[in-house]
Amino acid sequence: MPYALCFLLFMIGLYCAVVKKNMVKIVIGIMVMEYAVNLFLIMLGYRTGGTAPIVDKTYLESGTGQIAASFINTSVDPLPQALVLTAIVISLGSLALMISICTRTYGKYGTFDITEIRRLKG
């Protein structure tokens, strides 16, 4: 169920990016898609009632120094969180660039409506 909602969010973002005429709304749509994917990644690593994936002494088996099975069975997956952090930084970069292009375009054309910004054809 949460995965379906996440996919719905993705489709809403895609719809917004493809259908809307306003440049800023298109940017918002792209960001909604981005966050839907980030949410999906986070949910992949989620475990109900899981513990933080940090190994301290209580999780090491006495004697062997191996990580206990109880830790592996209860901790959440830390990797998707690292991926999401990276993805958020990247999307921040592209968001900043997109918004700056939007404002520069507004300065040139005096409108955000992409149906009026049509010099390039053919």
């Binding site: 440049m23 981005e34 991926l83 592209s94 292009i101 040139k108």
Partner: protein
């Protein structure tokens, strides 16, 4: 050599962050530094030919850490990227004098090169996405570098479609991780061989094909290319058409489809159909254009069709259990065409930049008779046009010949017919360029046109020499065995890639 692998990413990234420090006063120093960086990359790329291996970043083992993988296909792509970026950087040294903020331009340029080298070397699929984004974001900014009305519009269009493509790829990466529990391409491939394709992985494959297809501007996804490529400064057009669509699009697509998921009959057909559509539609749209760079941009779409067609045909023959000799011939044709197209299309864009800089226009109807005024530009443009149209003995002829032979041997006669037909259309569009730009009468206002000097000429002549000599890559057996054959072998091996990487 393997220990030097990070240098392919480190050199461009470091120079990208050092270059903006040189302000207006240190412009020539910055240009020199950027040129030195591209020369260093070229030397490294030549040194990497024939080598293969895995570099584990930070000594983490391959299963959990980030790895850089060098194999035949990677070193071929590294060579292409370095050659084109070397020529484009040499050309920019003079061409970019007409823009302000040259140091920032050089910085973005190096960022793009670093991203592409990373895409080619990355052995895990999430880093492939990260480097893809580095290269893409730098190229969005470079398309809008002129900050004029059209540049901004083209940049926005490119950025919207490019971001959607990147998000599709990220979604695909997430699905693959969820289904296989690994991000390393070798381990993903092994897991997929073990479990087979389930619904989630099938959806991920579809997302990858759409995402990389958008980056490669294959025909249903091509809307951004004819706006973005002409709007960029000429050396960047050369980089975009020459290597960016190949690395971010075709290389990534074939790596994922062949080596990670394994080629199957439906994906083989899909690649063939995408390739044919791009070839035919791109050629027809190109003939009607009057903007010089726009015509070349549409012809890029058409030429990328050849590459995807060759690779797809080879994949289909492998998946269908056909004769492997013809499969490898088709893939060889596709990859060789990729290399050729990188060289002659970047040369064409550089000549268009030279013409634009001298005449101040890209509209072909306002030009004419430039043959006398710009002899070197004209000569290099003829060589590139002959090469792209497939006139022997120039490079384009050999790759198209290989594709036609492979198609006929595999009994795809109609494919061979379409290849020849599109080749004729290409000839027509470049005859149009010659006729309207270099022949005919010289208009009044262009009487004072002068040939460009120094580094621009050197860059164009360098690429023109390559255009003439590239046929040797398939004609001389030792060159073919050291450069093209290992790359073909990587795609032929398909999912055996995972075993190869784990052994390295």
């Amino acid at each position: 050599m393997i220990r030097a692998l990070p240098a392919f990413v480190v050199i461009p990234l470091v120079s990208a962050f050092v270059l903006p420090v040189f302000g207006k006063k240190g412009k020539s120093a910055a240009t020199l530094l950027a040129n030195l960086a591209t020369v260093a990359l070229l030397v490294l790329a030549i040194a990497s030919i024939g080598k293969s291996g895995v570099y584990e970043v930070g000594n983490w083992p391959i299963r959990v850490g980030i790895v850089l993988v060098l194999d035949g296909l990677s070193s071929l792509m590294l060579l292409v990227i370095s050659v084109v970026s070397f020529a484009a950087m040499l050309f920019s040294a003079r061409y970019m004098e007409q823009y302000t903020a040259k140091a920032k331009y050089l910085s973005l340029f190096m960022l793009m090169v670093g991203g592409m080298n990373g895409v080619v070397l990355s052995g895990d699929i999430f880093n492939l996405f990260v480097f893809l984004e580095i290269a893409s974001i730098a190229s969005y900014a470079l398309v809008g570098f002129g900050c004029g009305n059209e540049e901004l519009e083209a940049s926005f269009k490119y950025m919207v479609l490019g971001s959607i493509a990147s998000i599709f790829v990220l979604f695909g990466v997430a699905l693959v991780y969820g289904n296989t529990g690994s991000l390393n391409m070798a381990y993903i491939s092994k897991a997929i061989q073990g479990s087979g394709l389930n619904a989630g992985l099938g959806f991920a494959l579809a997302l990858f094909i759409v995402g990389f297809g958008l980056k490669a501007a294959l025909v249903p996804f091509h809307a951004w290319l004819p706006d973005a490529h002409p709007s960029a400064p000429a050396p960047i057009s050369a980089m975009l058409s020459g290597v960016v669509i190949k690395t971010l699009g075709v290389y990534a697509l074939s790596r994922v489809v062949f080596n990670v998921f394994g080629i199957s009959i439906p994906t083989g057909w899909l690649l063939i159909v995408l390739g044919l559509l791009s070839m035919v539609a791109g050629a027809f749209l190109a003939i009607g254009q009057w903007d010089l760079k726009r015509l070349m941009a549409y012809s890029s779409i058409s030429q990328m069709g050849y590459v995807v067609l060759g690779i797809g045909l080879g994949g289909l023959i492998i998946a269908g259990g056909g004769n492997l000799a013809w499969a490898s011939l088709a893939i060889l044709g596709g990859l060789f065409h990729l290399v050729n197209h990188a060289v002659y299309k970047s040369l064409l864009f550089l000549t268009s930049g030279s013409v634009e800089m001298s005449t101040g226009t890209r509209e072909m109807r306002q030009m004419g008779g430039l043959a006398e005024k710009m002899p070197v530009t004209r000569a290099t443009c003829i060589i590139a046009s002959a090469s792209i149209a497939g006139i022997p003995p120039f490079s384009g002829f050999w790759s198209k010949l290989i594709l036609v032979v492979a198609a006929i041997q595999a009994h795809f006669y109609w494919v061979a017919a379409i290849i020849v037909f599109v080749s004729l259309c290409t000839l027509i569009m470049y005859l149009k360029v010659q006729r309207y730009v270099f022949l005919g009468e010289l208009p009044e206002n262009l009487q004072q046109t002068k040939e460009n000097k120094n580094s621009m000429l050197v860059a164009m002549i360098f690429l023109a020499c390559l255009c003439v000599l590239m046929g040797l890559l398939v004609l001389v057996p030792s060159l073919k065995q050291s450069i093209l054959d290992p790359a073909v072998q990587v795609l032929m091996d398909g999912v055996k890639y995972s075993a190869t990487v784990m052994k390295m």
